[in-house]
């Protein structure tokens, strides 16, 4: 099956395997291993990517379904060797411990901050409702999300 999609700002037309998940395609076929597999059933959010502006679990997307869509993975965030302000905020706030949940957390943060300039704490917590972290206890992640929002506002001033 031939499909066309945009991945991290690059438009691709490819002959694909039909019966695999987007997650497998990203990791195994394209070598984009920043997207992690945790539970494989949509519970943990480690595999979160953004499709057409919305955070989704790439383990629950069948590959042909991305035909015509725009996809952003964690690899698409840094530009010209510079980290994205969200990535910087996670580092600055020490929101990364083992790091396995981090790409998913960052993609959920991006999906939120792309549509909300001033997110409330409630909106911040709701945005990562579907992302599990077993190290940090979430407080540093939430703080990093607040800082990221602030940094993005400053950058756009």
């Amino acid at each position: 099956m031939k499909i066309t999609f945009t991945l991290n700002d690059e438009t691709l037309t490819m002959d694909i395997k039909e019966d695999i998940r987007l997650l497998d395609f990203l990791r195994d076929e394209l070598g984009l291993t920043g997207t992690k597999e945790g539970c494989g059933e949509g519970e943990c959010g480690a595999c979160t990517v953004i499709i057409d502006g919305k955070a989704v679990n790439s383990c629950l997307v069948l590959l042909p379904e991305i035909d015509g869509s725009e996809i952003t993975t964690i690899e698409g965030l840094s530009k010209n060797g510079e980290l994205d302000p969200i990535q910087k905020a996670f580092i600055d706030e020490g929101a990364v411990q083992c790091g396995f949940c981090t790409p998913g957390m960052i993609m959920s943060t991006k999906a939120l901050l792309d549509r909300k300039v001033y997110p409330s704490d409630e909106e911040i917590m709701e945005a990562i409702e579907g992302n599990l972290c077993r190290c940090t206890g979430y407080y540093k992640i939430i703080q990093a999300m607040r800082t990221a929002a602030e940094n993005l506002r400053k950058a756009n001033e």
Binding site: R21, G40, G42, T48, K54, A55, V56, N57, L60, D67
Partner: protein
């Protein structure tokens, strides 16, 4: 996994593809999990992704119609839902996570027919009916007839659910209480949804019987009793429709206790509406 994927663009094309060994993929949040666990093994997966239409929320006057492609996030962003079906909004907020709600559809959750299906509760309370299409034409079935058992529906080979239509319930006082193991992502241990007015109560329970159930006798008692309404009597009648099981999430005993408390909480919140309930 080994199967072919089809992406029909028209209803006719979709109907031609439906067969005994096919599965329809709407949001995929249930189907992909089931396929991975090898609980279903279709030869063909029919994706609704390129199907034209079926993606709107229509205002039909007294009711709303939601197409089979409409996601839970789209419903939560709809002014019509917020205004006319607060109870659906409340239930959808309890489902999964943003990632799940961005893909999962309302129709998909109903067709899945889980006893814990959070959106089935408001659909029962709103007298929903499903529009079911096939090569033979279209039929309409009430949701309580459509759901036959845990994971079982009346959907026959070659049929698919086109849309769900349900009453506007803006005149009622809505409540949705759910107890799970944690707030986000939790499948209900027990849930109680209700729509209450001075003269009528509608109530439905999730996760405490093989299907989402309505305590019919208790609801009739509420309308009949008027001034002489007795809370204990109501609970006693309501509990007749509760037949919980022990499973991985909770014991039968715990579910029985929880549901009783949720019914009492529902009545208390209604009594103290306008004031702080607790």
């Amino acid at each position: 996994m080994s199967f072919r994927v089809f992406m029909p663009t028209s209803e006719e094309e979709l109907q031609r593809l439906l067969s005994e060994r096919s599965c329809i993929l709407a949001g995929g949040t249930d189907l992909l999990v089931k396929m991975r666990l090898k609980r279903v093994h279709p030869d063909r997966v029919i994706s609704l992704r390129h199907l034209e239409g079926f993606d709107t929320i229509e205002d039909l006057g007294d009711s709303l119609r939601v197409g089979c492609k409409v996601t839970m996030s789209e419903l939560l962003n709809s002014d019509a839902i917020i205004k006319h079906s607060k109870i659906l909004e409340m239930a959808l907020r309890e489902i999964g996570s943003p990632q799940i709600r961005n893909r999962a559809t309302l129709v998909g959750n109903v067709v899945n027919a889980s006893p814990a299906g959070d959106s089935i509760v408001p659909m029962l309370l709103s007298n929903a009916s499903l529009s079911i299409g096939s090569a033979a034409g279209e039929r309409v079935e009430r949701i309580d007839d459509f759901i036959k058992g845990p994971g079982l529906t009346s959907l026959a080979n070659g049929e698919f659910v086109k849309s769900i239509t349900f009453e506007k319930t803006g005149d009622f006082f809505p409540q949705f209480h759910k107890v799970g193991q944690r707030n986000a992502m939790a499948i209900a241990v027990a849930s109680v949804g209700s729509l209450i007015s001075e003269s009528e109560i509608r109530m439905a329970f999730g996760s405490v019987a093989p299907v989402v159930v309505v305590p019919v006798e208790a609801c009739k008692y509420y309308s009949r009793s008027g001034e002489s309404f007795d809370e204990d009597r109501f609970v006693e009648l309501a509990m007749k429709s509760v037949t919980p099981i022990d499973d991985v999430r909770a014991s039968s005993w715990y579910r029985t206790t929880v549901i009783k408390n949720l019914i009492l909480r529902t009545l208390k919140v209604w009594r103290k509406r306008g004031y702080d309930a607790d």
